[in-house]
């Protein structure tokens, strides 16, 4: 009973993440790559993202505060961030990065600053939501991972 309840919760949680635009189809692709030979693949990839992105966010923040502004470097940093985000299916993060890039293009420092705040918020929210999701998945058990990824 408890097991199927947990399982329902994970399905519901994941559906929410998709419906609210936090995740896109790429996340499903990651789940499809997870199997017995690589049973924690999704979580490993997501962990990599958050480890990498923390570093990138710091670099972006420093680059924004630097004078004179180097919009080329800013764009390049955000491009990397956007790429990683897109690789894990982080839709909202990816979209906000596109907005940031547009501001870089317009050489609008104020626009970049505003956008950066949004990126940080989206990033933090996604991190928290995915941590909860994986925590729940772990409670459901490893077998369930393989089953739920076969759609």
């Amino acid at each position: 009973m408890e097991y199927s309840n947990l399982r329902r919760q994970t399905i519901f949680m994941k559906k929410n993440l998709f419906d609210q635009g936090f995740l896109d189809e790429q996340f499903n692709q990651l789940e499809e790559l997870q199997d017995e030979s690589s049973p924690n693949f999704v979580e490993e990839v997501v962990d990599l993202f958050f480890k990498d992105s923390s570093r990138l966010l710091t670099n972006i923040e420093q680059a924004i505060d630097k004078y004179p502004q180097d919009f080329y470097r800013l764009d390049s940093l955000v491009h990397q961030f956007k790429g990683s985000g897109s690789s894990i299916g982080a839709l909202r993060v990816k979209n906000e990065c596109s907005v940031f890039k547009a501001h870089c293009n317009d050489r609008s420092l104020e626009g970049c600053r505003r956008s950066f705040q949004k990126i940080k918020r989206e990033h933090a929210t996604l991190k928290q939501k995915l941590e909860s999701y994986f925590q729940l998945l772990r409670q459901v058990g490893p077998r369930e991972h393989a089953v739920s990824s076969r759609k």
Binding site: Q26, Q29, L48, F49, D52, H79, S84, G89
Partner: protein, 287 residues
Amino acid sequence: MASKELIGFVDCAGPIPIPSDRFALYDLEHPPHHRSPPSNNQPNRTSVTESTPPDLLPCVFFFFAASPRLVRGKLATTEKSSDHEDFLSFTGAQSKEEGAYPLPSSMAVATEAQFHVLAVDDSLLDRKLIERLLKTSSFQVTAVDSGSKALEFLGLHDHEESPISDQLDVAVNLIITDYCMPGMTGYDLLKKIKESSYLRDIPVVIMSSDNIPSRINRCLEEGADEFLLKPVRLSDMSKLKPHILKSRCKEHYEQEQHLQSNSSSNSHKRKAADDEILPSPIRPRHC
């Protein structure tokens, strides 16, 4: 288990034309007691002479998708250690120092050919992803983080056209590279590969997160076989094998042409301690 004798090897290294003195055949099915033991007791070096029983010839050949030269050992191959050991005892690798035929130390001895893909991406996350995609699609993978490392792996320094003779390399069936990389971009890497007579026949696939038609066209015009938009998906992997098979067909055709023109030099002896006389190679049809 009876040790097996080397009666030769086949060099199936990628697009590199094979000199006729490189041909040989591995016989892993017939233990040495099927033939008379070598009189000078050199288990690692076997002569394939006219006295070789003809029944040995139509046997199972293992074709190694690797150059006969030593491998650097950076490969992340999926070798089975027991097969590896058998292989080493088979060729008497403990006598590597004796001048035995050099072995690719991390070469996979597989009964089915696995294509080897070299993946190039500066992003660790994307490297992990492409590696997983490729392995799931039954490719062997080596992943490097830059174009210059890729060229190094391929045995080519980026300022030279021909491979360095003592450079270690391994056969690669396809190269898949990110476009946007610091230093050498994927496009720069593509150009270097296509400029090299040794590497130009290896199919190259470019990946990019940006859908820019002029960029795509430029890459295709430079000789890229495919352009994939990131994030790359499992369904994209099925696009890779046709390019590999196409280039292998071309390679086999070219080798056969080369063989026919060199048919008179089949008895050409190799240098140094090698006393083998080599028969005409028998090649499987891959395509």
